[in-house]
């Protein structure tokens, strides 16, 4: 699926070389611009469609979608922390059948690519979900969530390079769509996992999913979230996500989609410096539904001011390692 950069983002002919915002995520998935919205923070786009002009987004990454519908975890499911929030949604979603049969047709009518985030408990289930999405109009690509901390076994695949490679190989064989693998940051060596999924056939990686965290309630002398822990997102994790993106960037050649704590254009630009090819705005959309669009406008204004032709020009090249 190819979407051209909107005119608004291209300088008139005869002026300086145009700013090219497109991002190629492989297998003909070209995002019109690099500012998208993160899985689980934008649903399937229907609510936000009432609130903002979703067609200006670079991409919508949907809520994690499973083979069967899921009711999600017992409440409370969200809790605020210093500069962040914990969630333990438990992948509440209507199941892939409903997404493919009912939602996808609506995606197809939008001018924004929609990539379906896919979650599962085992390899066969991943493959089954991806198969169901193959050839469905409106589905622009797959983001494989091998890193959800809020369901049993949800982290297993993302924690070990070999396991991650296994599931990616199987999914790769089952889909012709652009395949992005969403990495867990709760690992000793995220770069090793990234390298493994690249070898296994991923077209891109996204980093990062949430960090395992806990909030304690003194009144009940126990955790706020019934499962004990949840996933931490928001500004608090931005420095960690930037470090993860830089480490992943140094380990793979495929594009890296940066995510974690972005709420302003400056934040997004920092991810481009760290090596991201595109970014996802997540938690910030809750407090400010227009956050991703404001990020886009700010990034474009900066790029114009600085005379950039591509945002990859911002990228930092780490010096060779050493003490």
């Amino acid at each position: 699926m190819t979407i051209e950069a909107t005119d608004a983002l291209t300088l008139p002919a005869g002026a300086e070389p145009a700013l090219d915002l497109r991002v190629d995520l492989g297998r003909a998935l070209v995002l019109p611009n690099p500012i998208g919205v993160a899985s689980g923070t934008f649903g399937y786009g229907f609510e936000f469609a009432h609130l903002i002009d979703i067609h200006r987004l670079g991409c919508i990454w949907t809520k994690g979608t499973t083979l069967h519908p899921r009711a999600g975890n017992a409440p409370p499911r969200v809790a605020e922390t210093a500069g962040g929030m914990l969630n333990s949604i438990g992948l509440q979603n209507p199941g892939v059948e409903h997404v493919a049969a009912s939602y996808a047709a609506r995606f197809a009518a939008w001018r924004v690519p929609v990539v379906v985030n896919v979650a599962a408990g085992d390899v066969a289930e991943y493959v089954a979900v991806v198969r169901r999405l193959e050839g469905v109009a409106g589905v622009a690509g797959i983001e494989l969530n091998i890193s959800c901390p809020n369901i049993a076994h949800g982290l297993d695949f993302g924690r070990e390079p070999a396991a991650a490679a296994r599931v990616v190989e199987a999914v790769r064989a089952a889909t012709s769509l652009s395949l992005t693998v969403k990495l867990s940051p709760n690992v000793t060596d995220i770069a090793a996992v990234a390298a493994a999924v690249e070898s296994a056939g991923a077209d891109a990686v996204s980093a990062v999913n949430t960090y395992v965290g806990m909030k304690v309630h003194l009144g009940i002398r126990g955790p706020v979230l019934p499962r004990g822990t949840g996933g931490l997102s928001g500004p608090a994790i931005k420095p960690l996500a930037l470090a993860a993106v830089a480490a992943v960037r140094a380990a793979v050649r495929i594009p890296v989609v940066g995510v974690g704590g972005i709420r302003s254009a400056e934040d997004a630009l920092e991810f481009f410096v760290a090596g991201a090819a595109a970014v996802q705005v997540g938690t910030a959309s809750f407090a400010d539904p227009g956050a991703a669009l404001a990020v886009l406008d700010g990034v474009v204004a900066y790029a114009r001011r600085e005379g950039l032709q591509r945002l990859t020009e911002l990228r930092w090249s780490p010096p060779p390692a050493g003490d």
């Binding site: 649903g43 009432h50 609130l51 009711a71 017992a74 409370p76 210093a82 949604i89 509440q92 539904p289």
Partner: protein, 291 residues
């Protein structure tokens, strides 16, 4: 299993509006009434609906805070709350002229009684918030009578009776305090059975979830409950507009499903038919469910 995910959200009416603070009134007992110029919300909000208030431009607090629309006058809406944490502290510290981002109206509100009908409101603590608007709209819609049962820990913390009616005729307030310092000595829910004897058509309740669960028990045991009983519920919210799926509340499963069923407070609620709520499951939630 019941899935709360549906496409039928009524977000078509919601808008993120940059409001202007008109006044911040401090009532007795720590209750604050914040009035903001928000023409869109003022034109569109219905009783029981809420708005998401952005308490700070920075990261503390990170998320907006849900507040019921308590009153509408001209192009202004008022919110009634007390300071319980960082977000409400910031709201209380606002001054006239400050800007405030207000996203709304959100959620499902209360059903008005039919013309000629009667409405019984049951308010616990800051659960008073939606009732000034509900009472006035009910009267405007032709309600014959509105009775408000208003309870609090102690007299000083009772929402002033006159603020429920705000000049509307046919609104009667009956008070209860836990310490007996004013009105009925005890819980507000203890006054409900008597009020039911007056056969209200519609019951509307708002207060802490445990109080609502107690009320549900009273209604279950009542001989002739109102034909419609609705309650405004609370859950911690990530977004307020149906996207994060963070605000789940336990509801009765359709049929004999063994799995739990959840509704979204921000979309299927905050006002829900009381019979729909799984009160036993709600009671079993940790008090932290509202943190």
């Amino acid at each position: 299993m019941t899935l709360a995910t549906s496409l039928q959200s009524d977000l078509g009416r919601a808008r993120d509006e940059r409001g202007e603070v008109v006044s911040v009134e401090r009532l007795e007992g720590g209750i604050v009434e914040l009035t903001v110029r928000v023409p869109h919300l003022a034109a569109d909000a219905r009783p029981g609906e809420f708005a998401q208030l952005r308490c700070a431009a920075g990261i503390v607090p990170l998320l907006r805070r849900p507040m019921s629309v308590a009153w509408i006058e001209d192009d202004c809406c008022s919110f009634v709350f007390e300071v319980v944490g960082e977000g409400t502290a910031r709201l209380a510290a606002l001054r006239g002229g400050d800007r405030l981002d207000v996203l709304g109206p959100l959620g499902a509100g209360f059903t008005l009684p039919r013309a000629g009908g009667t409405l019984l409101c049951v308010s616990g603590g800051l659960g008073c918030a939606p009732f000034p608007l509900l009472a006035s709209r009910a009267v405007a819609a032709g309600a014959r009578r509105v009775v408000v049962l208003s309870g609090a820990a102690t007299a000083a913390r009772l929402y002033p009776a006159a603020r429920f009616a705000r000049g509307a005729a046919r609104v009667e307030v009956r008070e209860a305090t836990d310490d007996g310092s004013r009105g009925h000595y005890g819980r507000v829910t203890e006054m409900v059975l008597d009020a039911l004897a007056e056969a209200p058509d519609v019951l509307a309740a708002c207060g802490p979830n445990p109080m609502l669960a107690t009320l549900a028990g009273v209604l279950e045991r009542a001989a002739d409950p109102p034909r419609l009983c609705e309650a405004s519920l609370e859950a911690p919210m990530g977004c307020g507009f149906g996207t994060c799926l963070g605000c789940a509340l336990p509801v009765r499963a359709d049929g004999a499903a063994a799995e739990p069923a959840w509704a979204l407070c921000c979309r299927d609620g905050p006002v829900m038919a009381m019979e729909r709520v799984d009160w036993a499951a709600l009671r079993a939630l940790p008090p932290a469910s509202v943190a």
